[in-house]
Amino acid sequence: MTLTCIMLALLFAGGSAWRAENHWQGSAKWLALIALALLATVFAVFVMSASNDFAQLQVLSRVSWIESFNIEYSIALDQLSIVLITLTWLLAIICVLVSWYEIQSNVGFYYFNLLLTIAGIIGVFVAVDMFLFFFFWEVMLLPMTAIIAIWGHENRQFAALKFFIFTQVSSLLMLVAIIGTGYFHLMQTGQLSFYYPDWLLLDIPLSISQYLMFGFFIAFAVKLPSVPVHSWLPDAHTQAPTAGSVLLAGVLLKTGAYGLIRFVIFLFPQASLQFAPIAATLAVVSIVYGAKMAFAQQDFKRLVAYSSISHMGFVMLALFAFNSTAYQGAIVTLVAHGLSSAALFSLAGMIYQRIHSRNLTDMGGFWQSAPRMGGFALAFAGAAFGLPGLANFIGEFFSLVGAFQVMPAFTIIAALGLIGSAIYGMVLFQTSFQGAAKQDIIDLQLRELLICGSLLLMLLAIGLYPTLLLKFSFGV
């Protein structure tokens, strides 16, 4: 019940922020910030005070919705979704903070869209009725597209359209797979069901499940994203406003990984196992190809976007290694990448506000005038290339250790990504902050220090004391 209220409250807060901005200028951001902080606290209190530890999926509410198809409104939580929702709250607050001065037009509507997206994302992480899941999947998509299309950069219409079409086409396949699995449930038990725990009990022969799995896999691989269906991401990330990029890289990509875990691997273990070599190949290609593409970019945000593809490759590789070390590595990588890419995109936004360019050739020598920013940039670039002591290292190391036990050859190629990431990380940091000073910029202000500082602290905390995350079993 509480979770439903939280989602409704987000919707309500979004609506009232929209209304309020028309009457009192500058109230929307405060409203959004307060609402997010409050609801995050409510969520935290709810989880802490719950009597169980969420090691298994806990169904929180089940209400019949469309009776003729046996579709329900049912939501549940487990440790995996709790961790991802916590990440969502953190980054949502960061999103409001980075938008503080950046968004100048249609401010109220912007925050409405932002809060709606977050409500959709939380819905995706809690829904256990597949039809409901699909519903939230769409809820999350529409306002996100609006954010890109309305508040984005010069080429925003195109990027938004591309993002929308990629996601739509792939989620159509997922819809087919959902209906197919529901229909199979009807065949096997005599009753139509879209209820995830019901599905877990199904015994689907491999000949059918491999197609069903494939439908889900495509949808989530597009979202993750994986080569060769990744190309919406560089455009969307580059063109989105800063908060849009943060949300996309930090949380939206994670819904893809979440889907892979819950609806591909746990639902179709046999089919996934059979599919693992192909998935691992895609993962390794993503890692190496993403790193190589990142190196070729001139655009700060585009570079970070391609680096995301490389990092998500590690997640995919780890997930299809089917052992607990790799699985933990995948989850740590999800959180770590969420924080570090959010940090890098925030930095890109801060630089853009100062020099009105994302082009690396316009940057150089910023360290001189903005040493604090330089320090953070180095730390976040370090996180991206897997510097030990920061969270991403733990994630990558666990992923590699786990994957190596199953597929050493793939893992060795994946490890070459470490060289690739060092190359693009160095290029990113050095061309923007070192070299001759092209222009002077203002160093970080208090609000920006707060954003960067908190992100770095979290990265350090997980990197040095990963037990924070690893104490959860995540349903293994």
Binding site: K292, A296, G365, P371, G375, F404, Q405, I423, Y465
Partner: protein
Amino acid sequence: MNVLLASLPFYPFVSFLLLIFFGKRLSWRLAATISVSSMAISALVSAILLFELSVTKNQVMTANLWHWFELSYAMGSSDVNVRFYLDGLSAVMISVVTGVGFLIHLFAAIYMKSDVNFSRFMAYMNLFIVAMLILVLADNLVLLYLGWEGVGLCSFLLIGFWYQEQSNVLAARKAFIVTRIGDTSMAIGLLLLFNSFGQLNIEAVTLLAEQANSLSAGTNAESADNIYWIALLLLGGAVGKSAQLPLQTWLPDAMAGPTPVSALIHAATMVTAGVYLIARMHGIFLLAPEVMNYVAWLGALTLLLAGIAALAQTDIKRVLAYSTMSQIGYMMLALGAGAWTAGVFHLMTHAFFKALLFLTAGAVIYALHHQQNLFKMGGLLKKLPFESSLFIIGLICLMALPGTSGFFSKEAIIAQLWSSDTAGPMLWWCAILGALLTSIYSCRLFFLGFLGKARFNENVQLKKSSLLRTSLIILALLSLFGGLIPLDLTLVFSSVMNLPLAQLTEPTWLHTVAIITPFIGMVFSWFYFKSYRISHLAGKEHILQPNNGRFVVFCRQGLGFDGLYKKLFIMPYQWLAQINKNDIFDQIIMLNAWYVGLWHDALVLVQNGSLRWYLAAFGLAIMLLLGVSLL
């Protein structure tokens, strides 16, 4: 749990934090005091630890800081902790790191005084010490890897300390990426190691390896194969960090950093991390004699290559850089030959005299208004007698003249090569040839820089600071008498005793040859480099030109490795990046959009609103349909 041991890296770390957070507000006096005194405390604590260690039973101390994480594998799981482990080997390392580190900090505090970013510089130096201490104290390979990457990062920051200069930026990038290639090899080695042993704890791995060694008849081919690969991959990491073949190219460029950095990181401590790694993992390497043989050969080849390259340099710091490379080659050669203690001993003495050489060179460069070109020096013996005499001390240690510290360590290495299983007479001759080259390039360096007539016009500027001189004098004393420090690592390398002794008998002339080799080099140089000694012999007075023949230039550029790698790796990668800038996958997917657009255009053409056109199309279609159905 030893609190002193646990606290060791935290003194420089606190100093780092203070300098980073309050850097701009601190005066030179305050910043220097904070950073140097933190190093003094660490050195003191190391000394106490050394004493405590010598009285503890079995000479091992540990300190567990916190539980880092737990790795599981098929048969169980193993803990990876942030835990420090101090034994004889790491004790040598922490003494060098904190002791020499302290002296270099002291020097740097005065040397870098006028730099606007002084506090940032000292902060990086402190951070480097933190990472280096973690590296040498780590009780497991993951923590070691943390230190390993940490020193790499600090090295990157300090090479590029004067980051406004594009060439420094590129040198820093090169150093980071080239060592990262080695690091990746090491990381893969860790994966394989964990997969084979289920452990990343160094002590446990060494123990397991020793057990495997004692039952060596019973080990199957697969595990032997694994150990071979583990050793080889770890060696990859070591050659990257220690600038050995084939990843040696970054070190000469790393001289772009301020001179104290070259002394601390690129001579005394970080570059010897590879040597430390191999010595630390000797349990594994002993099981893979082939790899030990590769280690010896890589060391010997680097030793010769760097010696030849050093002969052709014109920049005083680059001579020293190549000399460092070649001395680390000696250490590698020693490790490869199984002369573990001798290798570590040379690591220590080399840290003393190379730090001395670099710092003195720094003082000279400063005195000559940042002139690094040897051909624009000359006659410094008269103008800078104090620095010159220290430099001479450094050089005689480098050449290993009898009585100096370099002599003891280098002789110890050479003495064990001939009859070693994994080395042998060939490598012995390489070492001798290397010693000859060392003495020749040292003499050339000395003649060019310090003898003859001054080839510069400005007056020398001097930093008359007693602190600066004190640090140099202490280093000089260590260089001269450091060879007398007793180094007993038998407990660390106890397993070595099991090695079967080779049956080769040593000829009696071995030692004589080894001792007189440097003198032969000196005599040779005395005559061959006559024009360097006596400037007016060089034709026109005062003008001395470096030989710019093609071969000399080839040697000066490090025997063509840079060009080779550029063609083999850098250019293809850049080409690949350039050619696929628009992402081929995106292009293919966007073909769909193009295809839809094509139909859009075609259909727009049809929907033109002209009735005549519609009628004609209608009629045509009916005719076609009729025609088809009739046929």
